[in-house]
C-alpha cells in the first residue's frame, strides 16, 4: 500500500474514530445510563453533566498514560539495570555517570546552554519586537527573523556549517579572517568558544519565537501608561525599561522558561555540528551516544535531564497560568 493511502486512511480513521467515540459515549450517557426523563430527571441531568468532562478527558488521559507516564516509569526502572538489561544494579549507572568526566563536561555545557540561549534569544526577541514595531517595513523584518523557526534543527545546523566552514570561499568567519590576512581555522574546534558558536544557532532559531510572543505582549501594554510616562518626562529608554518591560514581565518569564525547556531537549545541533566532540557535549547528545549501546546508561541520562527540566517546567506552567488570569 502506498504511504499516501496509508496516511489518508490513518487520518480518516483517526478523525472519525474521535467523532464516533464522543458521539457514542455521549449518547450512551444521555440515553442509557442517565436518561433525561423519568422521575429522576433532574438528578440524572446533573449526574450526566458531572460525568461528561471525564468522557472528553478520557482519551487524552489514556494516551498520556500510555505514552508519557509508562515510559517515564519504564525509564526509571531501566536506568537501574545493567547494559544488557538483565541485572539490577541499583544506582550503579548514576554513580558511574557522576564519575565520567565526559558527563561532567556535558552537564557544565548544558548549564551554559540553559543560561545563555534563553537569555540571548529573549533579549534579542524583545529588542527586535520593540524596534520593528516602529518601522514601516517592520513586518517584513519580522517575517525574516521568524523564518528560522520553520527550519528543522538539522537543517539550520547544515546552514551554519557553511557559515563556520574552513574554506574562506564558503565560511564567512574564515572569509573575514582571510580578508585580515589570517590563516583559516575551524571555529568548531576552538575549545570552550565552540560551545557558543553552537548556541548561536539555537539563538538564531529561537529569537523569532521570542519576538512574536513579546511583540504581541508589547502591543498589549496600555498606550495610556506610556503617554503618562512621556508626560512625566520619561525618555524612550525609560519608557521601554521602566514602563513596558515590567508590564510584560510575566510573558518574558514564560518565553524564557519555554526556551530553557527546549534547550534542555535539543541534541540535533550538537549531534550534527560536532557529534559532541571537541568538548561540546551536552546531556541530550551525550545520551544519544549511549543509546542502543548501553540503554541502562542512556536512560539514566534521560532521567537526569528530566529532573533538571522539571522545576523549570513547573515554573513555566505557573507563570503561564498567572498570565492567563
Amino acid at each position: 500500500m502506498s504511504p499516501l493511502v496509508q496516511g489518508a486512511i490513518t487520518i480518516f480513521v483517526g478523525v472519525f474514530g474521535c467523532v464516533g467515540y464522543f458521539y457514542a459515549a455521549n449518547l450512551l450517557l444521555d440515553k442509557v445510563i442517565y436518561p433525561a426523563k423519568g422521575p429522576n430527571i433532574g438528578r440524572n441531568i446533573n449526574r450526566a453533566n458531572a460525568i461528561r468532562p471525564w468522557l472528553f478527558l478520557l482519551p487524552a488521559i489514556l494516551a498520556l498514560s500510555i505514552y508519557l507516564v509508562y515510559p517515564v516509569i519504564g525509564s526509571l526502572i531501566r536506568s537501574m539495570y545493567n547494559r544488557a538489561g538483565n541485572e539490577f544494579i541499583g544506582l550503579g549507572n548514576y554513580t558511574s555517570l557522576a564519575g565520567d568526566p565526559e558527563f561532567q563536561t556535558a552537564l557544565i555545557n548544558n548549564a551554559l546552554w540553559a543560561l545563555v540561549v534563553p537569555a540571548a534569544a529573549t533579549f534579542f526577541g524583545l529588542v527586535v519586537a520593540q524596534l520593528t514595531d516602529r518601522l514601516s517595513w517592520g513586518n517584513i523584518a519580522k517575517s525574516l527573523i521568524f523564518m528560522p523557526m520553520a527550519i528543522s534543527f538539522v537543517g539550520a545546523s547544515l546552514i551554519w556549517k557553511f557559515v563556520y566552514a574552513g574554506d574562506p570561499d564558503i565560511g564567512i568567519i574564515n572569509a573575514i579572517r582571510d580578508g585580515m590576512g589570517l590563516d583559516p581555522l575551524d571555529p568548531l574546534q576552538l575549545p570552550f568558544w565552540n560551545n557558543f558558536f553552537l548556541m548561536v544557532i539555537l539563538v538564531w532559531i529561537q529569537t523569532g519565537f521570542a519576538m512574536v510572543i513579546l511583540s504581541a505582549a508589547l502591543r498589549g501594554v496600555p498606550e495610556d501608561t506610556i503617554e503618562a510616562a512621556i508626560i512625566d518626562g520619561a525618555g524612550p529608554f525609560r519608557v521601554f525599561f521602566r514602563i513596558k518591560v515590567p508590564q510584560i514581565m510575566g510573558t518574558i518569564v514564560v518565553v524564557w522558561t519555554t526556551i530553557t525547556i527546549l534547550v534542555l531537549k535539543v541534541f540535533d545541533i550538537v549531534y550534527t555540528m560536532t557529534g559532541g566532540n571537541f568538548g561540546t557535549e551536552i546531556l541530550p547528545s551525550y545520551m544519544m551516544s549511549f543509546m542502543f549501546r548501553d540503554d541502562g546508561r542512556a536512560t539514566a541520562v534521560a532521567v537526569v535531564i528530566m529532573i533538571v527540566v522539571l522545576p523549570v517546567m513547573i515554573w513555566n506552567i505557573r507563570q503561564a497560568q498567572k498570565e492567563m488570569r
Binding site: T225, E227, I231, D232, G233
Partner: protein, 363 residues
C-alpha cells in the same frame, strides 16, 4: 500661573480634518471645561495641549511661549486620563514619585511632595499598595495625586470620572472642585461629555461641535443665552424644546406664532423689521414651561406620559412618530395631568428664538 492661548489651531489625521480654526484664551486660574458629543474632538484638542498629538496648524502658547514643538514633559502640564493610566507594576508611592525621580529631585523633596499629595487625597494608608489593590475611585485619586506632586502650571483631565459609578462620580466631582478651590492659581482644562459635570465644575465652558467651537461662556451664560440650537439643546436636561413658528411682531421684543396650537408667545429677544414673517424656532426649556389658560401660549398638546420624580413631574406630550416629544417640568406631583390637554407658556425672558439655527440674541 499660566495663560494659554490657542490661535487658529487645527488638527488633521492625514486627509481627515478633525478640528479647525480653534481660537481660545484661557486665563490663569480658570477651570475650563470642553464639552461636546462623543467624537467631536475634545480629547484631540486636550492632547494637543498636552503635546501628545502634533498640532497641524495654528499656534499654541503658554505664557507667551510657543509650545507647538515643545515636548510634553517641558510644557508644565500634568494629565489625568479616563483610564487612570497608573503604572500597574509600581506602588502608589512609586507612581506618584516617578516624574520627580526623573526630574532628579532629592529623596527628601520627593517624600514631602508625595506625602503632601497623599494627605490631600486621603491616600496615606495606600501608599505601599499596587494599583490593582485599589478601588476605582482610589485609583483616580492616585492619578490626580500623580499630577499634583509635579506642581504643574496646567492640569489636564480627560473624562476622569467616566469609569466610575454614579455615586462615586458625584463624590469625586466634588473633590475635584475642592481641589481647584485649594489651588486657585493653577489652570485646569477638563474634558467631559457630561453636561452636568460641565455645569458644576466650569468657570467657563467651551462647547465643541462640527470641528470647531460652538460657544464659549460661563455655565449660566450658556444656559440662559445659548447662541445656537445646538448649544441650547446640548446644555440642560431634559433638553430644550424647539417649536417651529413664524415671527408676527418685531421690535425690542419678538412675538412668534407657533404652528402647533396656533398660540403666540413673546420673547425678550429683539428682532428687525425684516424678520417679520420669518420662519423660526422657539426654544423653551422644560423647567421654564408653565401651564396657562390665556391666549398667549407656545404649545398646546395632550400629555402622553407623566414621570413623577417627587420634587418635580415631567410631562411628555404626544408627538408624531419619529419626533422628539415636547417636555414640560412642573414642580410638585402632577400625575393626574396624564391624558389632559394642556396649554404651555413661558415668561418672555425664558423664551429663545432661533432663525436658521442661530439665536436672535447674538445677531
Amino acid at each position: 500661573m499660566a495663560d494659554l492661548i490657542l490661535k487658529g489651531v487645527a488638527k488633521s489625521y492625514g486627509d481627515v480634518n478633525v478640528l479647525n480654526d480653534i481660537n481660545l484664551d484661557i486665563e490663569t486660574g480658570e477651570l475650563i471645561v470642553f464639552v461636546g458629543p462623543s467624537g467631536c474632538g475634545k480629547s484631540t484638542l486636550l492632547r494637543m495641549v498636552a503635546g501628545l498629538e502634533k498640532i497641524s496648524g495654528g499656534t499654541f502658547t503658554i505664557d507667551g511661549q510657543v509650545m507647538n514643538d515643545v515636548p510634553p514633559s517641558q510644557r508644565g502640564i500634568a494629565m489625568v486620563f479616563q483610564t487612570y493610566a497608573l503604572y500597574p507594576h509600581m506602588t502608589v508611592r512609586d507612581n506618584m514619585a516617578f516624574a520627580l525621580n526623573i526630574a532628579g529631585k532629592s529623596k527628601a523633596e520627593i517624600d514631602e511632595a508625595v506625602n503632601g499629595a497623599a494627605e490631600k487625597l486621603q491616600l496615606k494608608e495606600y501608599l505601599d499598595r499596587l494599583p490593582k489593590a485599589l478601588s476605582g475611585g482610589q485609583r483616580q485619586r492616585v492619578a490626580i495625586g500623580r499630577a499634583i506632586v509635579r506642581d504643574p502650571k496646567v492640569y489636564l483631565f480627560d473624562e476622569p470620572l467616566s469609569n466610575l459609578d454614579a455615586a462615586l462620580r458625584v463624590a469625586t466631582r466634588i473633590e475635584i472642585a475642592q481641589l481647584k478651590e485649594q489651588m486657585p492659581d493653577s489652570t485646569m482644562i477638563y474634558v467631559t461629555h457630561d453636561q452636568v459635570e460641565a455645569m458644576t465644575l466650569a468657570s467657563r465652558i467651551v462647547v465643541l461641535a462640527n470641528k470647531g467651537i460652538a460657544q464659549v461662556g460661563t455655565p449660566l451664560e450658556l444656559y440662559e443665552r445659548p447662541n445656537s440650537e445646538f448649544v441650547a439643546q446640548f446644555i440642560g436636561s431634559p433638553q430644550m424644546n424647539l417649536l417651529a413658528g413664524e415671527i408676527v411682531e418685531t421690535g425690542a421684543q419678538t412675538r412668534v406664532q407657533t404652528d402647533q396650537g396656533g398660540g403666540t408667545i413673546v420673547s425678550d429677544y429683539p428682532s428687525n423689521a425684516d424678520d417679520q414673517g420669518a420662519r423660526v424656532r422657539v426654544g423653551i426649556r422644560p423647567e421654564d414651561m408653565v401651564v396657562t389658560d390665556s391666549a398667549d401660549f407656545a404649545y398646546e398638546g395632550k400629555v402622553a406620559i407623566t414621570e413623577a420624580l417627587g420634587e418635580v413631574t415631567l410631562l411628555y406630550f404626544e408627538a408624531a412618530t419619529g419626533q422628539d416629544p415636547v417636555i414640560g417640568k412642573r414642580p410638585g406631583v402632577h400625575s393626574d395631568d396624564r391624558h389632559k390637554t394642556l396649554r404651555m407658556s413661558a415668561p418672555p425672558e425664558k423664551v429663545h428664538v432661533f432663525r436658521d439655527g442661530v439665536s436672535l440674541h447674538y445677531r
